[in-house]
Amino acid sequence: MNPIFRKLQASFILHSRALDQAALLLRASVSVQLIQGPLTFANERQYRTMPTHGIGRYKHSIPKEAPKKKKERLQMKPIKMATDTEYGTLNVKVSGYDMILVEHYSQYIHNLCNRLGVKVAESYALPTKTMEVMVMAEQGTKMYIDAILKTHERIVQLSQLNATLCPIFMEVLLKNQPEGVQLSVKQHTEADYLDRFKARPELAGLMAQKLLKGKALPS
């Protein structure tokens, strides 16, 4: 029975294909545009470039899209406080003149934290500070640029450092610290968070003016 059904189905599909083709040809003969493209079945939607795209009632049959969220203003992540067994949000700051060493060391710290299971909240870089070393010539008052020193800083922010793991962690860090690189571990504060942003002088000026006006009015 089954092979008969399959044969019947196959023949039916062939017939329907033939009918569609015929219909296409008819439409082609009636309309001016030539419809070129692959054979379309009754259950397929037209592609976007097809002239019939978007016509008719179809929105009920496509999956519903979630409404687009407007991008929220950047908020600071809440700073975790220290508990009895864990430290809160700590900033491990690596700074130095040699960028290669500083970056490699900060990558080493990040990888070490991943291995030891310490959660790394963020890992970012602070802007580079350039220092020009000027040398005064022996005769005369003109200063010549002797050297340009750039201080690079990278920060790895840890969130849950266990108090028992801390001594080992610190020891490993200190033993592997390269020459010329300074390491400092501090607690994260809001001031540190605000340091990352660029100063906006116009906004600061406007705020100052607003404050002055606010002070002037009551008096």
């Binding site: 080992i168 200190l174 020459e179």
Partner: protein, 291 residues
């Protein structure tokens, strides 16, 4: 390397907690305990609180380490790889500003020496500086020659008493003490007194070292290791079966005084077997990192 260490440290921490919380024991329980090493069993088999003073004396010891000052020497393989990478980076890199200046100056000199040189045609004649890039390079080379680098390997390598030896490795402080009849090398330790925490005992051990004032920062209040030993049968009494030594890690901060007389030795981890007894060494090796 670091991951196993965390496990090793957390175990003695639990042992420490259980020991400190352990107030009294029967004799029979103590004998059982001396066979198996796990102190977890002791806490569970703790009987009703009879105030028998503990049979084990507590000591606090300090493992003072001097951190490495410079990086270690490279292997031959590491050397070859570093050279290869350096060569590759050099070949792939772009020309820097200084090198551009050198090229421009060379070009200018070549144009000057050409026969049909017209100085009015020189576009940047007004900006020509008196100092060329080559002059600057010469000045820099002179400065480099004047600068003296400190030697990596000093001649204090074999002097086990000096702190300035083996700058690439971390060193541990050992002192010599007389226990019973024999002189033994061990980490500085001091018996615990009632009323102080074990970390304070370790700090006292460091401060009570004769003829040496070391400024050290202690890493955390949790001990990093424990060593338990029983006194020889002749000396064993009712109240004292042996002692437990809790080790605390500290890092040497600042420069120690150059003259250190006294029974001190600064040793690397690989030299520890020459000084310490095997059982002691086994426990101490677990928390001294050789990274």
């Amino acid at each position: 390397m670091a991951a196993p260490c965390s496990k090793i440290v957390s175990r003695p921490w639990w042992q420490f907690i259980k020991n400190v919380g352990w107030t009294g024991l029967n004799q029979t329980v103590v004998r059982q305990l001396s066979r198996n090493n796990a102190c977890g069993a002791a806490a569970q088999t703790k009987s009703k609180t009879e105030r028998i003073p503990s049979q084990w004396k507590l000591h606090g010891a300090v493992c003072l380490q001097r951190l490495p000052v410079i990086s270690q020497e490279r292997n031959p393989i590491e050397d070859q790889f570093a050279e290869l990478i350096h060569q590759m980076e050099l070949e792939r890199s772009l020309v820097s500003e200084h090198e551009l200046r050198l090229l421009e100056d060379a070009e200018r000199v070549r144009r000057k020496q050409a026969e049909d040189y017209d100085s009015d045609e020189e576009a940047e004649y007004g900006d020509q500086e008196t100092i060329t890039a080559l002059d600057q390079e010469d000045a820099w080379e002179q400065k480099l020659k004047k600068f003296q680098l400190a030697p990596r390997v000093s001649d204090l390598e074999d002097d086990h008493q000096s702190v300035g030896r083996c700058l690439g490795d971390s060193l541990v402080l050992l002192t010599e003490e007389t226990l019973g009849q024999e002189k033994v090398w061990l980490l500085p330790q001091v018996p615990w007194q009632a009323g102080e925490t074990l970390r304070q005992t370790a700090e006292r051990a460091l401060n009570s070292l004769p003829e040496a004032d070391f400024k050290a920062t202690f890493l955390g209040s949790a001990p990093c290791g424990v060593y338990r030993y029983k006194l020889p049968k002749a000396v064993r009494t009712e109240s004292c079966q042996g002692a437990k030594v809790f080790f605390f890690k500290a890092l040497l901060s600042g420069h120690p005084p150059p003259s250190q007389n006294g029974p001190f030795r600064w040793v690397k981890k690989s030299e520890l077997p020459d000084y310490l007894k095997p059982a002691y060494l086994e426990k101490v090796n677990r928390f001294i990192l050789d990274l």
